[in-house]
Symmetry: C2
Subunit: 470 residues, 2 copies
């Protein structure tokens, strides 16, 4: 325990110095032996520290010479501005929003910087297939029967067990499975709202959530967010008297990739409980942290059952499986009734397969690899942006998840960039789709779930060149 603490602290200190520019590109770091002596740690711990820093692309080894600080050009790029949505619900959903976001789904002829899921190359396909075959064999009646209403027992048990890592302390009886995380959000919103109610959402926000809110007849208030720490608590406080429900993605929110600090999570939970406003927490990215620690959730601070915590394996394992869940706190009966009415059951075979995948430790093993790959993808993507995009481009610093957010100078319209890129068979996500207001026209989201290759770098460069020409 103490060793882990030291290890994290020392690695974190060095990383901070690199990111702050105290240690500069090309600087030589102390040797493993020297670090061990300086800090009073074992040789093995010192080695582990360098491996950790290397995996973050912060340092690189030169044979027979030791470790050197890597160039991190992207760190020179400024952060995007704190968002400034107007505090009025006006719901100006662009008609073509759906088309822009989803028309390219499943197209194999495009380079999809717009897609918010990990590419199949990053997934444990062979192991998953095996689990499915096993599930058809082991389930009664081959999985043709309805599941229990609350969902697959193994899956619920494992989701509960994993909640220990973020101090959720859930029990399997707290959890209801759903057809992916979006379906969990649908059930929560349908259980808690009626048309005409007002919802508070982060701005910028995942388009699917905006569309869902609009389709349920809700008025949407967008909350200002900081690109590193998430929602502006003062902005939220001003909205409180007007809202009926709040939906947040506190961990590695798409598009910005921020992680709300623990203190903010605690504060928001307390505030909303005071006002008796339910908090729907979408934690679907929580397991893909780039740092060593699984971040806590708002649910970690939920005492009265006012937080409905939602998750899925769609961003980590298999988007096409539609396996998700919700721990709805004191709203459990309502959600259970709605699930029963709307879908009766989840898909038995697939939920059993995922339950077993978690139970046998394969999920954690896979996550370790996935996190490392995504972090590397982020750094390579960010470096390419620093190299190829227009002067004045700002980018977010995701601490996990599958995307980063770019802000161009005001004259660059990413709606136009989307059209130009599509002609070259590249799909991007223009900023306007992440809001219901008249903003983010000069922003875009870039996803980091594609395997990094020279070709991908080249494609990103093409987008950069198009932006430069505008």
């Amino acid at each position: 325990m103490k060793k882990d603490f030291l290890y994290n602290e020392i690695a974190g200190n060095i990383a901070e110095k690199i990111k702050a520019g105290v240690l500069k590109a090309g600087d030589r770091l102390p040797s493993v032996r020297m670090l061990s002596q300086e800090q009073g740690i074992s040789i093995n711990t010192a080695k582990r520290i360098f491996l950790e820093l290397e995996s973050q692309s912060l340092v690189h080894a030169k044979p027979q010479s030791g470790y050197f600080v890597s160039p991190l050009n992207y760190l020179k790029l400024p952060l995007p501005e704190v968002s400034q949505p107007i505090p009025v619900a006006n719901n100006r959903e662009p008609d073509e929003l759906m088309n822009v976001v989803y028309s390219t789904m499943g197209r194999r002829d495009l380079t999809l910087f717009s897609i918010g899921v990990p590419s199949g190359n990053l997934l444990p396909l062979a192991k998953l297939k095996k689990e499915i075959v096993l599930a058809t064999r082991e389930l009664e009646e081959g999985g043709t029967e309805y599941e229990p209403i609350q969902g697959n027992m193994k899956l619920r048990r494992m989701v509960a067990a994993r909640s220990l890592a973020w101090k959720g302390n859930l029990k399997e009886s707290d959890i209801i499975t759903t057809n992916g995380c979006m379906n969990a959000l649908v059930l929560c919103l349908m259980a808690l709202t009626k048309p005409g109610d007002t919802i508070a959402l982060e701005s910028p926000c995942y388009p699917g959530i905006l569309q869902l809110a609009v389709s349920l007849g809700l008025k949407v208030l967008e909350i200002a967010t900081h690109p590193v720490t998430g929602i502006d608590m003062d902005a939220l406080k001003k909205l409180l008297p007007k809202i009926n429900v709040c939906l947040l993605v506190p961990n590695f929110n798409t598009p910005l990739g921020y992680c709300m600090p623990d203190a903010s999570k605690k504060e928001v939970v307390t505030l909303l409980a005071e006002y008796n406003i339910p908090l729907i927490e979408d934690d679907t990215y929580g397991d893909i942290h780039f740092g060593p620690e699984r971040p806590k959730c708002c649910k970690s601070y939920d005492k009265g059952g006012n937080v409905l915590w939602c998750g899925s394996v769609s961003k980590t394992l298999a988007p096409g499986y539609r396996v998700g869940w919700v721990a709805p706190g004191k709203y459990k009966d309502k959600i259970l009734k709605l699930k029963l009415i709307h879908s009766l059951s989840s898909t038995s075979v697939i939920n059993e397969a995922v339950g077993n995948f978690l139970l046998t430790g394969k999920y954690e093993h896979h996550l370790r690899k996935l996190r490392r790959t995504l972090q590397e993808n982020y750094q390579k993507t960010a470096d390419a942006i620093a190299a190829y995009f227009p002067q004045g481009t700002k980018i977010s610093r995701p601490q996990g998840g599958l995307a980063l957010w770019m802000e161009f100078p005001k004259n660059i319209d990413t709606g136009e960039l989307y059209n130009q890129a599509l002609k070259k068979r590249i799909s991007i996500s223009p900023g306007r789709v992440f809001t219901l207001q008249d903003q983010y026209h000069n922003c875009m989201r870039v996803c980091i779930g594609l395997p990094w290759t020279d070709d991908l770098k080249q494609r990103l460069k093409e987008v950069g060149n198009m932006a430069k020409m505008m």
Copy 2:
């Protein structure tokens, strides 16, 4: 073609004579040779006619003696009354309704006369497992990816191809897949209604549909139905000025099992189109016809795209797969958008597996067997009811599907019968859950999806005895 016509006509004639009591239990039928000569048909056709009648439990063979008319005691039981719901929306959902209907779901310690799906013993489990294994192998990325938004291509193509049998003439582009039929109904109702709108439903009605309507804030008007021909057209006409949408289960409606005559289907489609009221048609039982012909649907008569035709494999193949679909006519864009927002995609692997199962002819082969088994189950169940239930019991004559409806003398309360039966580990569906009004207390639904055994007969006898004691 001509041969098939003759065969159906002759078998039908004999069946009618038996059911009408012209031919009585124990009567000897002409020999195969005699029938062949009388009717001018081949020996083989004559043999086929007797086999058909035998499969319907109308006749039985005695070795060396020929065919004899079987006793059909249940045909002596009268039909239930035409239902008489009041033409006012009052939505008195009993609080315990959910519990009564669903609390016994998945309990293996009970004899479930309440369950509305075929038992696993009646399903092609081994073949389905093989399809799933194949689908994980053949799909790109092992089926971990999202499907196209409209759904699996093979499945849509096959659902379209099968629509030729009922003059639906659908194309794959007309069809959107869903997570089971209930999910299709959810999408249709959410796309077409807002809270406070009024829906017309058959009375008695499947409890899941009643609950769905209530949960969406709809007012429910129940339409009077005849136990053999379905909705009373005059009753519907009176409701027309008050309703925004109509949802019918015209083929083998649960609980009554009727099949609306073609003329009624045509009339209801024309009427609703005139009033511009969308018709949601739940055809999930349409493939389990006891007669030789697949019945037509309301959709068969839909010229302007006003009928949203919904189906699934939940009642024929695998309830736990959650595979369904809708052909939404002119409402396609609305439904597609809602599907995208609510669930993004169906479960890729399972939909591919079912698509292949249909494509390779295995589905049709399985259906032929399933229909025969269910029809036999119906006749054996009905015969047991005739033998063991109180004097004055009336039963419906399902022409397909998975259930029949019983009406007891007024003094028998099936809510109480439910409680008594549950103590003996038997689950039944009391009539009150099939309505939002104060009626059907002396009715119950009996499902015929369980394999018929002496033990099952004994259990049914127990329920009959309990009813007799009341």
